[in-house]
Amino acid sequence: MKKIKKFTFRMRKKLMVLFILVLAAFVMLSYKLYTITRDNGDSYKRQVLSQQSKGSTVLPYRRGDIVDRKGSRLAYSEKVYNLVIDAKAMHEDDDKHLEPMLSLLESEFPDLDMSEVRAYVKDKPNSRYKIFLKKIAADKKEEFEALKKAGVSSNDADGKKVTIALDGVWFEEDYIRKYPYNTLACDLVGFVQGDNTGFFGLEEYYNSTLNGTNGRSYGYMNDDGIMESTIQEAEDGNTLVTTVDTNIQSIVEKHIKLYYEKYWNNFRDGAAAENIGVIVMNPNNGEIYAMAGYPVFDLNDPTNMDGVDLTPFMTSTSSNAVSSNAIETQTSVSEDSLSVDAAPEMDEETKAMNKIWRNTCISDSYEPGSVMKPFTTAGALDAGKITGNETYNCGGFLEVGGHKIHCHNRLGDGLLTVQQGMAKSCNVVLMNIAFTMGKDEWLRYNRIFNFGLKTNIDLAGEANASELTFGENMGQTDLAVASFGQGFNVTMIQMAAGFSALINGGYYYQPHVVSKIENSKGAVLEEKTPKVVKQVISESTSQKMREMLRTVVMSDPKECTGWSARPAGYTEGGKTGTAEKYPRGNGKYLISFMGFVPAENPQVLCYVIIDTPNAPNQSESTRMATVLNKDIMTEVLPYLNIFPTEEMTEAEIAELQEKQGEFFIGSDGVSQNSVSDDVVEEGQETVHEDDGTIYIPDPAESVSYDSAGNVISQNAIQYDEATGYPLDPATGEVLDPVTLEPIDGNVSFISD
C-alpha cells in the first residue's frame, strides 16, 4: 500500500488559524450589522418610507368654487394638465421612437422649448420625470394623446410601412383657478397664487375651506406578490355660496367707472378722486351685496397692471391719503399698522400693486365726517339725554376750548330742532348734543356701535382700527369734533354695519359675505345664518332715527343736504358726510353718503365714499357722492324687486329716460366684466347668450330688456306717446322706464 500523505498537525494548526480568521470576520460583520441597525435604523426606516411615497403619485384636489347668491361662479378651478417627459421611455426600443416623438411634441406644443427638451433627453437618459409645460387644456391634451396613440408610420429598411408606437410623454393632472368675470368684485374675491394659496378677500379668508386634501395612488404588493395600485381619491375643496350679487356688483362697478371717466381732469389734472369705495348691503341681515373700489384688476392675471396707472399708488404720500387721516393727537396712522401685507422690502411696484389689490371697503380707515352724526344723535336719544324735541341756536360756530368750531354754514341757521340739525348737517347742534351726552356716554355708544373693533367680516385684510378711536383721555374739543365725525378713524364696513343697526330696529348684524358652505357634491355643510351680535339701540330710537334721516333726503332741497341722493319714485333716508382731511386747512375733503331705501322700511343700504374728489371746491362737492348713490340705487332697486312708491315728476321721468342710455350702455371698461364666452353657464337666465353680459352689453349696441328678461335692442323699442314710457316689443304693454315692467305689473322680472 502506498504511503498516504497525511494532513499534518502543522496544517491542522494553520487550518485552525484560518477558521479563527473566518470567525473573526463573521463576528466583525455581525457587529457591523448591529451598529447599522442601532445607529441608523430609524433614519433608514424613514428613508425607506419616503422612497415608498416617491413611488406613489399625488392626485390633486380641486379647489372649491366661489359663487354669488344666484349661483353664478365668481371663481372656479379648471382641470389642466402638466406635460411630463420620461427620458428613459423615450430611449426605449433603441431610440426608434425618439425622433418621431420629439417632432410630434414640437409640432403640437409650440410653446415648448425644444432645445431644453432635447438637452434633457440627451443628458439624462435615465431620468423618468420632468415637467416641461404646465396648464395644458384638457382638449389639447386629448388631441395629443390621440396622436401619440396612433403612432407614426414610417418606412423601415425594407421600404415597408411600419407604425412606430410612441412613448415617453405623459400628462399629470393639475388645476388652475379661473375667474370668469375677470375684474368683477376683484377686491372682494381675491386671487390665488402658487400652490392654491389665496391672497386677499374670500380666497385668503376661506383658504383652508376652499382647499381640499390631495389624494394619492399607492402601489402595493398583494399576497400573490403582484403589484396593485390603490387609489385614495382627492377630497375636493368646499364651495362658498356668497351673498354677493354679480348684477349689483357690476352696476356698482360700472357707476364707479363712469364717475372716474366723467371727472377725469375735471378740476385738477388726473384721476377723478384719490380713492372711492362703495358698499351695497342688506341692512336687515348684514349680507353684503356688493363691495367695490377703484381701480380694478384682472383676477386671472393679478400682476398684469396694464391699463392701470400705477403712479398715484407709487408714492406713499398720495396713496396714503385715506389712512393718514388720523386722530390729531396721534399725528398720523402709519401705513404699516393698516396694511395687511406690509413687507418691508417690497419694491415700489409691488407696493403699488398691493394697494390696488387691497379692499378699500375694509382695509382703509378714514375720518367719517357727518355720517357720524346719526350715531351721536341715536346715542343721546337712546340714553335719554335728549328727547329729540330740543332746539338749539346755531350761530355758525361754537367756541370750544378756545377754538371756534364752525358749521358748514358759517352764517348760522338760527334756531334748529334736532331733526333740522340733522337735515342741514349742523355741527353746532351736534356738538351741543354731544356735550349733553358727555364724554363717557358718547364713548360708550361709540363702543356699542363697534367702533374701534373689527366687524369680523369674513374677508381677509380688515383693518384693525382699535388704535384709531378716542379713549378715556378724550378732551372737550375732541368730543366736540367727534360728534360730527372728525378726529377719529373708522372703516367703511364698520360704518355700514353700524348704520344698518341704527335703522333696522337696533340690531347689530355681523356683516358677512358667505351665506353657506357646500361640499363639492353640493351638500350644505354650514349655513351661515345672519347673526345678531347685539341690540345697540331700542326699536323706538331706531324708528326716530329713520324718520330723522328721511328728512335728510326727502325735505325741500333748501332744507336738507341729501336731496340729490334720492332715486326717482322712492323714499330714501340717509346722511351726507364731508370730512376735512388731515392736515386741516389743505382744502382736501373726503365726501360720503350713506343712504337706505325705502326710508320707512329699509331694504337696501348703499354707502359711498369719495376721497379727495377732483372738484374745485371739495367741501361743496358732496353732491358727487349723493348722485353716485342715486345712480346706483336707481338701477339696483328695481333689480331687487323694490318697487317705486312715489309719484314721479315730469322732470324726473325725463331725466330717467335720458339716463336710460347711460345705465344700460356700458362703457368699454365695464364691459370687461362680461362673462367670458366659454363660461356661460346654464340656468343663468339673466345672462345674454351672445356675449354673456348682464346690463352691460356690447358697447356698440344699445340694449334693454323686455318683460321676460330677454335682451332686446334699444332701437326696436317703441315709446308710448302719452307717457313717453317704453313699450314691450313682445306684448305692446306700457313699461315702467325704471323697472321695465308692465305698468300694471305683476309680471316677474327677476325674482330672487
Binding site: 487550518l15 441597525t37 406578490g225
Partner: protein, 350 residues
C-alpha cells in the same frame, strides 16, 4: 428567501412571481442529484482527472467568447449548453480546488521554498487572470485567487509569506483609498475606482454608484432587530437592485432583522466548522485539502458578500452561497458539498 426577494422583480419582468424560484428549484434539484452522486464517488477519482478538469475549466472560460457564449445585463459571463445557461467561473472555482489539492499533494515538499510556493500560485493565477480578462468578472477572480491562497496557506509550513503578502496588499489598498479620497487621481483613471469612492461615501453617490449599497444599508437599517416579517420587505420592490442575487442578505436583514441575519451567519459558521472537523479527520492530505478548498470558497464568498452589503468593502458582485439566486453556483456548491461528504464518509469508513 430567493422567492421572497425575487417575486416582485419576477412578476414585473416575467409576469410570474415564481419565475426565479422555479429556475432555482430546478438547479437545486439537479444539484442534489449531483451531490448525491458525488458523495458516493470516491474523492480519489478527482486525483486522476485533475488535469482535464483544470484545462476544461479554462476551456469553458474561453467558450464565453464563442457563439454559445451568452450576455446577460451587459456581462459576457455565461455559456449556453442545451437549454441551460452556465457560468464557467463557478466551474473554475471547483476546478481550482481540485487542481490545487492535487498539485499541493504532489509538490508538498517544494512548498517550503519560495520558488515552489510561487510555482503553485502561478497555476492558480492563470484561471484567475483569464476570468478577469475574458469575462471581466473581478469578484470571481478574487475568489479563485483567494481559494488558492487559503489552500496554500494551510498547506505550506510558513506564515511570513502570508503576513508579508497581507501587509503588501493591505498597504496597496490603503494607498489607493487615500489617493481616491484625496482626489489626487485624475478623473479618467477613477472610473474603476468610482466604486471605491462610492464605498467611502455612499450618500454622495446615492443616485449612481452608491445607489445599490445605500439601498442595501437602508434595508438593513429599516429591518431593525427582528425585521418586518418574511415577505414584508419593501426595499425589494425595485429599490435594491439584484435583490435576489448579490444583495439578498440585505433583504434577509430587512425581513428577518438583525436576529435573522445573525442566525444566517451562524449557520454558515456551523457549516464551516463542520468543514474544519472533516478536514482534520480526513484520511489523507488530498481529502483534507479538498475540504479546505471548499471551506475557503464558502467562507470567502460569505464574508465578501456580507461585507459588500454592509459597505465594509467596496461593491463587488459576490453571491451568498446557497442563498443567492444562481443555478450554476448552486450546482457547483452542491458538488463541493458532495466531495466534502465523501471525504467525511471515507473517514468514518476507516
Amino acid at each position: 428567501m430567493v422567492y421572497s426577494a425575487s417575486s416582485y422583480e419576477a412578476s414585473t419582468k416575467f409576469n410570474d412571481s415564481a419565475h426565479y424560484i422555479k429556475s432555482q428549484a430546478k438547479a437545486t434539484f439537479l444539484g442534489l442529484i449531483v451531490m448525491g452522486f458525488v458523495s458516493k464517488l470516491d474523492y480519489h477519482f478527482w486525483k486522476k482527472v485533475y488535469l482535464p478538469i483544470y484545462l476544461g475549466s479554462i476551456f469553458l472560460i474561453f467558450l464565453v467568447k464563442s457563439p454559445i457564449g451568452m450576455t446577460i445585463n451587459g456581462a459576457n459571463r455565461w455559456i449556453r449548453i442545451g437549454g441551460m445557461s452556465f457560468q464557467p467561473a463557478e466551474a473554475a472555482k471547483l476546478g481550482i480546488i481540485i487542481f490545487l489539492a492535487v498539485l499541493i499533494c504532489n509538490k508538498r515538499k517544494s512548498l517550503n521554498s519560495l520558488g515552489g510556493f510561487i510555482n503553485c500560485l502561478i497555476w492558480a493565477l492563470v484561471p484567475t487572470g483569464l476570468i478577469y480578462v475574458v469575462t471581466k468578472n473581478l469578484s470571481s477572480a478574487i475568489i479563485i485567487c483567494g481559494i488558492a491562497v487559503v489552500m496554500l496557506f494551510v498547506a505550506s509550513p510558513r506564515y511570513w509569506y502570508y503576513i508579508l503578502g497581507a501587509v503588501m496588499v493591505g498597504g496597496a489598498v490603503a494607498g489607493v483609498i487615500y489617493l481616491v479620497s484625496s482626489g489626487i487621481l485624475p478623473e479618467s483613471m477613477s472610473f474603476r475606482l468610482g466604486r471605491v469612492k462610492a464605498w467611502l461615501n455612499p450618500e454622495a453617490y446615492a443616485t449612481s454608484k452608491g445607489f445599490q449599497t445605500l439601498q442595501a444599508l437602508y434595508s438593513i437599517g429599516s429591518g431593525g432587530y427582528f425585521g418586518k416579517g418574511l415577505g414584508q420587505s419593501t426595499q425589494k420592490m425595485g429599490y435594491v437592485p439584484e435583490a435576489q442575487n448579490d444583495m439578498i442578505f440585505s433583504i434577509i436583514c430587512e425581513e428577518l432583522g438583525l436576529f435573522g441575519a445573525v442566525a444566517v451567519i451562524l449557520m454558515f459558521l456551523i457549516l464551516i466548522y463542520r468543514f474544519l472537523v472533516i478536514a482534520n479527520n480526513a484520511p489523507d492530505l488530498f481529502g483534507a485539502l479538498l475540504v479546505v478548498g471548499v471551506m475557503g470558497h464558502i467562507s470567502l464568498q460569505v464574508i465578501l458578500n456580507i461585507a459588500v452589503v454592509t459597505n465594509t468593502l467596496p461593491n463587488t458582485g459576490v453571491t451568498l452561497p446557497f442563498i443567492s439566486y444562481g443555478g450554476t453556483s448552486v450546482l457547483f456548491l452542491m458538488m463541493e458539498i458532495g466531495i466534502a461528504l465523501n471525504v467525511s464518509k471515507a473517514h468514518s469508513a476507516e
